[in-house]
Symmetry: C2
Subunit: 415 residues, 2 copies
């Protein structure tokens, strides 16, 4: 048994609360054992039986559930930093893409990289995520767009899940775009996905979810329907990249298919939002993509008022969101999605867990939940997300083990 004491604020983030209520306990304590939360509450109610246990003085810091980044494209070859510079010099994305840049360059670099190269690179990002307090991520394939390379990405994830503390929940995104070699026979690519790749991914247990990018430049709704129908048949959970660059009915489609989540949604309409609310679809907002692409932020307030849950994730990828800094995404969600700090914290914990069908197990600090715990050097949720710092995380527990050593600042946070 391990006890955390002297916690200024502890956010329990129960899945049953409305999103605006992070279930905050002031002056709290928490006990965990055998990888699970055993007790949580105000410190003055800590049961006597826990008083002799190993304990850590949190020095009036904040304790939250381990953060969950429920939308990343973790594994990719190359970067696109030169493209970032070119776009700032006025070059258009279309021209960059025509010259071999854009997503095509990432596909090409990913195809030519070895499993070892891809793993070593993704491992650096995972280590950076863990330092920030992230304990679980969702990660997508989708830069292979051919059998071997898609499976290679998913294989990287399987290996990395076993190699380091952050849990990886895998999503097959063969339907990220139609690869060049199928541009004139796109039906063949959809058939390859439905008849070969999806059944193979499922049979080999390489992913838990299947995602499809519904967009003018990616897949139409009829194509996406074929793909997700095959995925459902194969027993995979469903996700949709919807309404990112324009409104294409992606939100309604996600609701119709019973997808667990719809991602992006920058251009979702009122009726799309209502359909998702009725279907219980989780909206996954990706503020870093809005930042880097200079496109509108998601209408989170409309979604919350319609009764939807809104998750907050990074979209980490080399093109539209080259950052895995989830706390930055969270501060952006406050400012630009007009979500309160509590709503955002819930969006990166229990709601993010719901987007990967894991809210019964992670994302909340309640007895029986996995002991994934992040300690933040800040006296409150409000102060943490308001005062953006490089990294305010001062310790991480994963499944009951300290995986980032507990190191509270020598001086307490000064008000």
């Amino acid at each position: 048994m391990t006890v955390l004491r002297n916690i200024a604020q502890l956010a329990t983030c129960p899945a049953t609360n409305p999103q605006q209520d992070a279930g905050i306990i002031e002056n709290a304590a928490l006990a965990f054992a055998n990888g699970e939360i055993a007790w949580v509450g105000p410190e003055n109610q800590l049961p006597k039986r826990h008083s002799g246990e190993e304990s850590f003085d949190c020095r009036q810091q904040l304790v939250i559930p381990g953060l969950i980044d429920c939308h990343t494209h973790l594994c990719f070859g190359g970067w696109r930093d030169d493209e970032f510079d070119l776009r700032l010099r006025g070059h258009r994305y279309e021209d960059i893409a025509a010259a071999g840049g854009g997503i095509r360059s990432t596909v090409s670099a990913t195809r030519s990289a070895t499993i070892q190269q891809l793993s070593r690179k993704a491992l650096q990002a995972l280590a950076g995520m863990l330092e920030l307090g992230v304990t679980t991520i969702e990660c997508k394939s989708g830069y292979g767009l051919e059998a071997d390379s898609e499976l290679k990405q998913l294989e990287v994830y399987r290996k990395l899940d076993a190699q380091q503390p952050v849990d990886l929940i895998r999503t097959f995104l063969g339907a990220h775009m139609v690869p060049d070699e199928f541009q004139n026979c796109r039906d063949d690519y959809v058939r390859l996905l439905c008849d070969t790749l999806i059944p193979m991914v499922s049979a080999q247990n390489l992913a838990e979810f299947c995602d499809v990018f519904v967009d003018e430049n990616a897949f139409s709704i009829p194509e996406a329907r074929q793909i997700l129908t095959a995925a459902k048949r194969a027993g995979l959970g469903l996700k949709v990249h919807a309404d990112q660059l324009s409104n294409g009915g992606g939100a309604q489609f996600a609701a119709e298919m019973g997808a667990i989540s719809a991602e992006h949604l920058e251009h979702a309409t009122e009726s799309g939002i209502q359909a998702m609310a009725d279907a219980g679809t989780v909206a996954v907002s990706l503020p870093l993509a809005s930042l880097y692409l200079r496109v509108p932020y998601i209408a989170a307030r409309d979604m919350l008022e319609a009764g939807m849950k809104v998750a907050v994730a990074t979209d980490f990828n080399p093109g539209s969101a080259p950052s895995y800094h989830l706390p930055l995404a969270m501060t952006l969600a406050c400012i630009n999605q007009q979500m309160t700090p509590q709503e955002v914290l819930v969006g990166a914990t229990t709601v993010a867990a719901r987007a990967i069908c894991a809210e019964q197990r992670i994302g909340s600090l309640l007895p029986g939940f996995t002991a994934d715990i992040t300690v933040i050097d800040s006296p409150s949720v409000n102060q943490w997300l308001y005062h953006f710092r490089a990294n305010a995380c001062s310790g991480v527990v994963k499944s009951g083990q300290w995986v980032k050593a507990f190191a509270p600042q020598t001086a307490p946070f000064l008000r």
Copy 2:
């Protein structure tokens, strides 16, 4: 003599270059001795006389001049995190201010804090800045708005300058706003500034610059003219907070007064920009204030094309920019001010140095300049500002001494 070798990119940032050219040397080396840069160039041209010196292998990282944050309000009492939450819940700033919040709450908390309390708190921020690679900052008073409390802030800066490695360049901003007790006799406050405080600050050598906030809710141009005329007479350099919330002719006024810099400028007009360009006024852009306040970003491209220099700084303060993360401000300046990574780097080094009249001494990595050097764990300027991470700084030299221990990642950055 100390030599840095195996540098992937070194940005010299000469003051004489146009802003788009950071003076990059690939595969560089740099030598420093007695607190000054002794030699810089391609490593294969490193003079033989340096080959036996103490050397550090930079492992293909990036080396830049120590960053300069040329606009901060470092010293303040309290925070305004609860106000951040209230605004996100729909409360208007005017109502929050009427209830005792807003800048008034910071003035009140700063007035009631002791020098020791203010120093300890500012010291935490300075330590965080140094970790990020910042070696010099400008810092303003302006939360006292009465003789004792303004002098108290400047005294905090004097003490902190001596206590830790980051250099503090001080600006008197008694003209931040008219304090409550002078609302019905604002002329008296202007007289207090001109006849008492400015001469006192100058005589006691408490600041190098005088700044005035020109705005409907702060000071009119005729008032600001009186204040800066007194400041000029007292031998202080001039700065202007101009055109932040609306266009009030602040840019023209800064040019007319011969101010070294005009800050904010979110609403500067074409004629204001031309006036500043003709006068050689530096524009100090503050992207974090635009982010947190959701107001337009500065028209940096228009300014650069008009021949102005555009600095990039944080505006760190508890209300409109509660973050001292200069690299985040820099990435925002790329994305939202459409400046290239090189332009932004120059804006946070030699142009920032110019905004504090120090470009002959700091902000460039050229022989004879102070050896303020920041090592960044990234292969290039483009990659660094594109791939936002918590903190990519892996070592800092201040005046020839390692003040952040050199610690390159064990694994090189993977492309």
